[in-house]
Symmetry: C2
């Protein structure tokens, strides 16, 4: 059976894997990105790591599928705008560089769309026609599958589900718009409200759990703290997420909505409220059959998507 | 060349046409629905009218494509929920009835999706991959095309673009949700604000134009009046529309957005502000190539969609 490589380039971490066309990962690893050292150094490390993983598994690499945190010219395999990396990462011929080092074909895709492709191919999305995928983390990314295929355009930009306007006059978003879903329900958005409650003296358990250190306030710590005020803050974020989901359910009537990323780990506290808000908002047609679930592949959705992209 | 029939059933009017697979209409007519007389009477009139139009054109009907104002079981050709018609219109076997009268196959589709199909097949949508269509009238309906085809589900419910939540705590919508785009930018929503301005003494020209009669206040009269306050009300509705468009552009990155229905007749006053709001809101990727246009087919989009549905 031929083998494939996957890489997922992030602002702080790069994940690498070797696997097969069935989505089975044989070897995987992660390392700090150290993006400021420049594309040549980082991409050189990725090539060396993938080669080492393949050697260790005793296989050769047929093709590489790689996620990048932003926009790229997919046909040319060249980055365009990667907002969380230094500007030297603009217009980098990533596919050509890695293709020459690894002697295989290389395909790029936005990292959230790559995770969508993974979930669609190997996760809950198998056999599903229309699916929405949200990555809930530092930002909120996403992807849309229609007719069982990832909905795409030339730059892989379609699917920015975190940049719907939920509050027209809401907080400024990193993208330049106001009131995007990302400003209301991303990890940092939820944590910021946790910090406010902590500082306002409204979250004694969270204070105890974090030693009063704002830097230690995360959605996970907030869920663990058990303060009612903090729980309400998480539920409010879940309702904003529910509005974002409901808008797209109304437009596309998917069979499945999947949440990946760290914030999805909040589990039922989050999911129950998202489902309730979607039921309150989608009134034009019955949505009994709609499933709203955490990713089956979890943190490996992106790497599995890389295998799907490489082997397709 | 074979000929086809189209019908578009509305709460107040039924439109009928005979045409060909190229979308050319040979004969057309419209008549009051008089829905309270019941499905048998209304459907009987539609069958008789289509037969008369075909006879007049000297052609026979190969198949009929028909729009219904709500949900239907498309495979069975049976209505489900038509919110603007009396309850006796629920679970009516429209396709079987008309098929037996006209001796041809009959296919149903939601009226807004039918207009979307018309625009996609014969209007601005020809050759386009991803397109959004909004019908701006008494309500706001819509449809989505992906990969050059109408995005569908079993009941033809996907595409309810007027029922996105724009203001989470906004006005109650007919669907049961709050703050839907329809509550902020439909014909009645715009007119209601016109009436308020009229009664508050803030719209002297509109008062003059309508003789102070709230029943005569329509978006068209408002645009003609020229009061600055009234112009601002229209622009605010346009900005809400722009938010609704921007949300779906961010998710799907269409090449084309088309507005049909009576409110679209407001023209550049509306379109310029919609385009400006979309540019303010969509910041994740360049949208230089995005076209936002009034329907090429205008009021005939639904009938043309009926011909497309019948001949496909």
């Amino acid at each position: 059976m031929p083998h494939f490589a996957a890489a997922d380039l992030g602002g702080t971490t790069v994940a690498c894997a070797i696997g097969d066309a069935a989505g089975h990962i044989l070897r995987e690893s992660s390392m700090p990105t150290r993006a400021s050292e420049g594309p040549d150094a980082v991409l050189g490390r990725i090539a060396a790591e993938l080669a080492a993983l393949a050697r260790d598994a005793g296989v050769s690499i047929r093709a590489l599928g790689m996620g990048v945190p932003g926009r790229a010219d997919l046909a040319a395999g060249v980055t365009r705008f990667l907002p969380n990396l230094p500007t030297q990462w603009r217009d980098v011929p990533v596919a050509a560089f890695l293709s020459s080092r690894l002697e295989c074909s290389v395909r790029l895709l936005n990292d959230a769309r790559l995770a969508t492709l993974g979930e669609l191919t190997y996760g809950h999305g198998r056999g599903v026609g229309t699916m929405l995928f949200f990555t809930l983390g530092t930002g909120i990314g996403g992807g849309v599958a229609i007719g069982g295929r990832l909905h795409m355009d030339e730059m892989g930009t379609a699917g920015e589900l975190g940049h719907q306007t939920i509050l027209p006059d809401g907080p400024l978003c990193g993208c330049g718009n106001h009131g995007c879903l990302e400003t209301l329900a991303s990890g940092p958005a939820i944590a910021a409200e946790g910090v406010r409650l902590l500082r306002a003296g409204l979250a004694p358990h969270l204070f105890e759990l974090t030693g009063g250190d704002p830097g230690r306030v995360t959605p996970r710590e907030m869920a663990a703290a058990g303060d009612e005020s903090v729980r309400q803050a998480i539920l409010r974020a879940a309702r904003y997420l529910g509005i974002g989901v409901a808008n797209l359910v109304t437009a596309l009537h998917p069979e499945l909505v999947v949440f990946g990323g760290g914030v999805a780990a909040l589990g039922e506290l989050l999911f129950a409220e998202v489902r309730a808000e979607v039921a309150r908002r989608v009134r034009m047609f019955p949505i009994d059959g709609l499933r709203i679930l955490p990713s089956q592949l979890g943190e490996r959705a992106g790497l599995c998507g890389g295998l799907a992209l490489a082997s397709s």
